[in-house]
């Protein structure tokens, strides 16, 4: 997924304007009317950009949890065993065990999980130092959007590019394993057969 400053979206018909980063209406004020914000601290820029990806991943995880919950709550009747017997005289008889209730999870169904393997956000902004009781670096798109409207060209002096990837879980998040009479592999040294 690549998200650039000049990305434009469309307003939902009959609804409030959609928040769009990099356009004039990227803040929704009270009452649903957008207002323009001149700039923001450079420190907050990455949080703002990555927050969209994080929120989307949060939604994907929530759907996976809901799917897992549904699989544990949905039950079906299954016949666990059918026994076929061949007598000495060649007669075949079939014995069906009583049906038992099983959840979909017990039957092997698993929720499908999705995650962002890679997300890249790249923005061009105007960076400037301002005095806020101590100096601060601020990022602005106002000048760029004004020049785009007036002259059709855009010049910015700063670019921030960030690539997000899933963090691999540490090995010790799972339980230690091992045989009843053998050593316990707690995965702290790479495993029993690490050497």
């Amino acid at each position: 997924m690549r998200h650039r400053q000049h990305h434009t979206g469309t307003d939902r018909p009959g609804g409030d304007p959609v928040d769009r980063v990099g356009t004039d209406r990227h803040v929704r004020s009270d009452g649903g009317r957008p207002r323009e914000v001149r700039d923001l601290p450079f420190d907050e820029l990455l949080s703002l950009l990555a927050g969209g990806v994080a929120e989307a991943q949060e939604r994907l995880d929530a759907e996976a949890v809901a799917a897992a919950r549904s699989l544990t709550e949905t039950t079906v009747d299954v016949v666990p065993r059918v026994t076929r017997t061949i007598d000495a005289d060649g007669t075949v008889s079939t014995t069906t065990a009583p049906a038992e209730e099983r959840t979909l999870l017990e039957l092997g169904f698993e929720p499908t999980r999705y995650r962002f393997e890679e997300a890249t956000v790249e923005v061009d902004v105007d960076a400037a130092f301002v005095d806020e009781g101590g100096s601060a670096l601020r990022a602005s798109t106002t000048d760029a959007s004004t020049r785009r409207r007036v002259r059709g060209e855009v010049e910015t002096n700063a670019r921030l590019s960030a690539r997000l990837r899933p963090t691999p879980l540490p090995p010790r998040t799972g339980p230690a394993t091992g045989d009843a009479d053998g050593p316990i592999d707690d995965r702290t040294d790479g495993g029993i057969d690490a050497d």
């Binding site: 994080a54 991943q57 010049e155 002096n157 960030a162 990837r165 899933p166």
Partner: protein, 130 residues
């Protein structure tokens, strides 16, 4: 609201801003993932979820920041802590972000612009013996 727009500040302030931006962004990512993980653990503990799930954790594998600027060396005052008198000057590299206003007001030639480029990447954790 900012009351005055400075033109030049030490380069280290730009570097600090980028680093803080990455730190705050990662903190936001971790906070969201931790919230999801806690909700999953609560549902498992309450018996509402009979499936072991882990929340997805995201991190910045790479962050690059580029700033087009002009660089100059200025003297930063060194003051006596007792008297407040100026004892000397410490050379400091300051940056003036280039934009159309800077170029037109100070007639700065874009061809002599400098570029500050930063790249931040995560450090793999060290193995710790139990």
């Amino acid at each position: 609201m900012p009351t005055e727009r400075w033109l030049s500040r030490p380069v280290k302030e730009f570097v600090r801003s980028v680093a803080v931006s990455v730190a705050e962004g990662q903190e936001e990512l971790d906070r969201r993932s931790a919230r999801i993980q806690r909700e999953i653990e609560r549902e498992i503990a309450a018996g509402d979820l009979e499936y072991d799930l882990d929340a997805s954790w995201l991190r910045f594998s790479e962050v690059e920041a580029d700033l087009e600027t002009t660089l100059s060396i200025e003297g930063e005052e060194i003051r006596d802590p007792d008297t407040g008198a100026v004892r000397g000057y410490r050379p400091t590299v300051v940056a003036t972000p280039l934009n159309s206003r800077t170029r037109s007001a100070y007639d700065v030639d874009a061809e002599i612009a400098s570029e500050i480029r930063l790249r931040i990447a995560p450090v793999p954790p060290e193995r710790r013996e139990p």
